[in-house]
């Protein structure tokens, strides 16, 4: 009976195992942790965009009553960064500042007022250097270099060519080129950054509780920057209020807080303002794309040539990976015989960019899906027909050597075409209304970890003790996406016990095994598989114990509904707890590890940068967006979105739906309203009023279809579900605007002023044409 109930619940999906804490206010996020005895940390930031530090005098701040510690770049000679090959950033600037808002010094004081006063007492003198706020300015031949070892202010150039590109274009019936630019974005997770660090000078131990998506990276960087033995550091993850990539990289404030805690020999709480969150940044870069596609009359693609320029900000961060993703993920979704990619990641005097949901792939996908639609229109082909003409057939390997093991894109197309009644409604909507569609995909975990240690890519430990409780120990960070719930479901189902029996303990380096964390949508695929592995091992131990008691062979023992029985001999059964007792009698409390590793053949091509984009499983999405465009104001309203996502198998359909809906709305923000901008390096958008995240008022109904292609390697066939649907929203919207008013937008976001400008430009164009005809 329990099993039936579980199965029914499973088909609908299950609420989060930590949901009650969240709806009752009992969930403690970092800023909620007990901090009555903690000092207040505050950061002094550079007031200029680019300059050589001439003088930094903190003596007056240090002398202020109530100031316990002050730290500067002199306290940390080490660089940090997410990529071992590109750590060129100091937690506190040394010698030079490269963007307005870069941390220069920090104080720990007994209260906030004193800390603020101390910041005012810091004396800072710089010799200003020329600053660059656009990729073009930074790349100009006479530009001062932000980093001496990076000529042309280029962090990384990528030149990849696969297949015979000239032959591909020669074989095309239509070749078109388009230039598209996408604004810089911010994650705008609702919980502002915070961390609480405690340093015990007697034991020399440091405990950091922070908002990190990857506690392991934080652990590594704290050890590096504080020159500490990692065994003296403990990193704990409290509840985390969203991430979306903002917190994958270790962030400067985390290291700064640790430096302060050690200097103060105590506990320091650092809470960044929303403005400081925008300065800390690490989100999607401003991107310029020049894309050329070749197409045959039947819609088959013959060649693709793409140049991407990303304005990466002042430091390396994740930049190399972002610029590689932008090219690598041109592949893996359509069958294109020849692809050339040129990518340029540019340094500029702005806050550093980083990973954001759909890392690197979103803007190139936007350009691609827009141009695909425009060419289809020219060839009088339906947008669905063009996508269907170019589908990949799994299993296959792409030109750049990415594994594609399952692909449900065709079914995604069918589902949204049908649900939106595309065929009946396209081109038959009232004036000002339009339909648009697009496709997208994303990796289910980067197949090659950033830190190459030779260890498994994911480990889950299962603990079973006298109480009969099964505890899954994982380093995987649940940041709201429901990864702990996923682990609990996977363990309960594999073991054949009720979900209530499983407890998940996540993100405490003293207790849980190391995990590579919440990035690249890796947790379901990798940690899910590791959880299955651990559970199978535990199950076989229990089966042995049950076999002895039931006088049967272990391989004939099954467990379902918390009852062990001999297969094909239904009469002899044992309750779960009896079997636990028998198993523990032999060996005492059990802890069993499970692991998962992506095999070498999944880890991408041998070409330089070939590991980026590699994954065991791509998710696929197709999306239709319906818009209304007001030609008098240029305002675009989304009336409805239909989204289908192939996530392989939905381990928790409720959570999968939630992830899809969330990524669709984040895509809508990028499409319509979200954009950062700077004036001389000063952010003009550093609040949630000026940075326009969609509110519930303009949120459209989203009809979700879950497509299950049953990936051969995914846990129960599952792939990722959190990122893949985002990238098809902006192009579907822009294509819908074209369908509504006949205008092809070339910039994101499609704000009213941009739409108006395009409308005015078209009017002028028509007037010029009329004048030409008249003369």
């Amino acid at each position: 009976m329990t099993t039936d109930r579980n199965n029914n619940a499973r088909r609908r999906g299950l609420p989060l195992i930590d949901g009650i804490e969240k709806v009752t206010g009992r969930a403690h996020y970092t800023a909620d942790l007990e901090h009555a005895d903690a000092l207040v940390g505050r950061i002094f930031r550079s007031p200029v965009s680019h300059g050589e530090i001439l003088c930094l005098d903190v003596s007056k701040a240090r002398a202020l009553d109530g100031v316990i510690a002050v730290v500067t770049g002199a306290d940390c000679p080490h660089t940090y960064g997410v990529l071992p090959v590109a750590m060129n950033e100091h937690p506190l600037a040394r010698e030079r500042v490269r963007y307005r808002g870069e941390p220069v010094a920090a104080v720990a004081a007994t209260d906030d007022a004193i800390a603020s006063r101390a910041l005012d007492l810091i004396e800072f003198e710089v010799r200003e250097l020329p600053a660059y706020y656009t990729s073009a300015a930074a790349r100009s031949p006479d530009a001062v270099l932000l980093h001496a070892n990076k000529p042309g202010n280029i962090e990384r150039e990528v030149h990849h060519e696969f297949g015979d590109v000239p032959a591909g274009f020669a074989a095309a019936d239509l070749v078109r080129e388009e230039t598209i630019s996408c604004a810089e974005l911010n994650h705008a997770q609702i919980e502002p950054h915070a961390c609480l660090v405690d340093y015990d000078p007697v034991s020399g131990r440091l405990t950091a509780q922070s908002v990190s998506q990857v506690g392991y990276y934080l652990h590594l960087m704290l050890a590096r920057c504080l020159e500490m033995d990692p065994s003296r550091i403990r990193v704990i993850k409290p509840f985390i209020g969203g991430g979306f990539g903002a917190r994958v990289e270790v962030l400067n404030f985390e290291i700064i807080t640790a430096l302060l805690a050690r200097a103060a020999a105590g506990k320091v709480l650092m809470r960044l303002t929303r403005e400081e969150n925008f300065l800390t940044h690490r989100a999607r870069p401003q991107t310029d794309i020049r894309l050329k596609l070749g197409m045959r009359r039947d819609g088959r693609l013959t060649a693709c040539e793409c140049e991407v320029v990303q304005r990466g900000g002042a430091y390396a961060g994740y930049g190399i990976v972002t610029i590689l993703y932008a090219g690598a993920l041109l592949q893996g979704i359509y069958d294109i015989p020849a692809i050339k990619y040129d990518g340029y990641r540019v340094y500029a005097n702005l806050p550093p960019c980083g990973a954001m949901r759909g890392h690197g792939s979103v803007d190139s996908r936007h350009a691609f899906e827009c141009l695909l639609d425009r060419m289809a229109r020219e060839l009088r082909l339906d947008p669905f027909t063009v996508r269907r003409a170019n589908l990949l057939r799994a299993p296959t390997r792409t030109l750049n050597d990415l594994m594609v093991n399952s692909c449900g894109l065709e079914e995604c197309l069918d589902r949204v075409e049908h649900a939106s009644r595309w065929r009946e409604r396209i081109d038959r909507l009232p004036s000002g209304k339009g339909l648009g569609m697009a496709c997208s995909h994303y990796v289910s975990g980067a197949a090659k970890p950033i830190h190459w240690t030779g260890e498994p890519h994911a480990v889950v430990n299962l603990k079973l003790d006298f109480d009969g409780g099964v505890t899954a120990l994982t380093g995987a960070a649940d940041i709201g996406q429901g990864s702990s719930t996923m682990i609990a479901i996977v363990v309960a189902e594999t073991l054949g016990v009720s979900l209530d029996r499983v407890r998940v303990v996540a993100g405490d380096s003293a207790v849980t095994p190391k995990d590579n964390g919440a990035y690249s949508s890796r947790i379901t695929f990798m940690v899910g598989n590791a959880a299955i592995d651990a559970t199978r091992k535990l199950k076989s131990m229990l089966a042995e114990a049950a076999a002895r008691k039931l006088d049967a062979r272990p391989e004939d023992i099954e467990c379902a509904g918390e009852t062990f029985r001999v297969e094909s001999a239904g009469q002899s059964t044992l309750p779960f707890i009896e079997v636990v007792k028998a198993a523990l009698a032999d060996r005492g409390p059990i802890t069993v590890p499970g692991s998962f590793t992506c095999p070498p053949e999944a880890q991408g091509g041998k070409h330089r940068g070939g590991a980026v984009g590699s994954t065991m499983g791509f998710s696929y999405a197709a999306q239709v967006v319906e818009v209304s465009v007001d030609e008098a104001t240029g305002s675009v309203t989304v009336d409805k979105a239909w989204t289908a996502l192939d996530c392989g198998h939905a381990i928790n359909p409720l959570a999968v739906q939630g992830q899809i809906e969330g990524s669709v709305l984040m895509g809508m923000g990028q499409a319509l309203s979200e954009e950062t901008s700077y004036v001389n390096g000063l952010p003009m958008h550093a609040s949630l009023l000026e940075y326009r995240v969609p509110t519930i008022a303009e949120s459209p109904p989203i009809e979700v279809a879950i497509v299950e292609s049953h990936d051969p390697y995914g846990p129960f066939g599952a792939k990722e579900a959190s990122e893949g649907a985002l990238a098809s929203f902006p192009p579907a919207l822009v294509n819908a605007v074209a369908n509504a008013i006949g205008i092809d937008l070339r910039e994101l976001p499609a704000t009213p002023d941009r739409v108006m400008e395009a409308l005015v430009e078209r009017r002028r164009e028509l007037q010029r044409a009329a004048a030409r005809r008249a003369s």
Partner: protein, 163 residues
Amino acid sequence: MQPEISQPRKRLLRVKLNGRWREDAVAENQLLSDYLREIARLTGVKIGCDGGECGACTVLIDGAALPSCITLAVRCEGRSVETIEGLASQGRPTRLQRAFHEKLGTQCGFCTPGMIMAAEALLRRNAEPSDAEIRTALSGNLCRCTGYVKIIESVKAAADIAS
């Protein structure tokens, strides 16, 4: 010489907090959100922005949903203030809280207390709100995770059960 840091004047605040009267000495310039979080230790009141932008700190003041981060604590003298912690009785979540849990109206959960308090105020004055009324009532509460679909479903589910 140490520069002076002027101490704000304090006042005795008498407030009915989650159904119980209490008195605290609070600075005249203390924000209600800081009072609730730091003095009353009701950390379900979240701070997501630099003032009045995100709605995560929404509480009920005499039944009206207001952002506590742009309200002075002393303005609540003699009034009733309710936070997310005051909703559940004897550890049992209300229908609205259960609906947010069961329908996945919460993901990361950071906006959730404010969102639920705004919805609670709505349902008290309107037992069967339309989608449009829900959207209007919650339009000051930002959520970055859910796409709002399941938030609307949660509020409707709670209203359905109630009616």
